[in-house]
Amino acid sequence: MIKNSTLSRSITLANRIDELTRISAFLEETTEQWDLPMALGMSLNLVLEEAFTNVVQYAYTDKEQHEIELLMEKSGKELIVTIIDDGQPYDPTKKTDPDINLNVENRPIGGLGIFLIKKTMDNVAYERKNDKNHLIMTKNLA
């Protein structure tokens, strides 16, 4: 068994919502190949869906096709998932968390996506590099 090796897999996606199907399949393969727990696979699916959907819906001001890269790395006890897009600069980590104590009448519809990412992952960081957004989400593996 190889110790402390870094595993890495990536997929290039188009800025279309139906790519979520390919994301799920890619994630399922990765979970299996890297022997990750099934429950983790499901939470990662949620994280990736929220992050990818945000990019597709809000990052682009034109109607062109864009490439979005999804990178997964496993290094020691850390799993790092990065989404890279060439949309307009946007740092989702700066978004204010929703007030989850509001009652039904006052609870706004929507605005939960980024919050679910932050709550599911152990660290969420943003960088703007080479005119691209990098959303770097880390999960500590038990």
């Binding site: 919502i17 139906d18 979520l20 199907t21 429950a39 499901m42 939470s43 699916n45 949620l46 869906e49 929220e50 959907t53 929703p98 989850i100 104590n101 509001l102 009652n103 039904v104 009448e105 609870r107 519809i109 929507g110 939960l112 996506g113 919050f115 679910l116 709550k119 599911t120």
Partner: protein, 109 residues
Amino acid sequence: MEVKLSNLNDYTVVSIHGRVDTLTASDFESKILEVLEGGAKKLLLDCSDLAYISSSGLRVFLVAQKKMMASGGSLKLCCLQPEIKEIFDISGFSTIFSIFPDAESAAAQ
């Protein structure tokens, strides 16, 4: 995603099967709205076979709850799988829905 309708006591039961995500949420929403517009005043969403939910799906649950409360109806949830329940907990949705362990106890009250 598929929904099946049935009745239990005076509740209309909507059993949700599969994934309620960004791809299926609008289909789910129109099916739920159809039930509400049909005049259901007591609604139970049975989540036994709900395999996955994202924020798009949570949004539909919230819309249904708001509409039910506005019309004086009653909306209950039952049978959430642990992974789904966790997402409801994180979102604060566990406190804005009446959640029961099984359909019988939900429809008994």
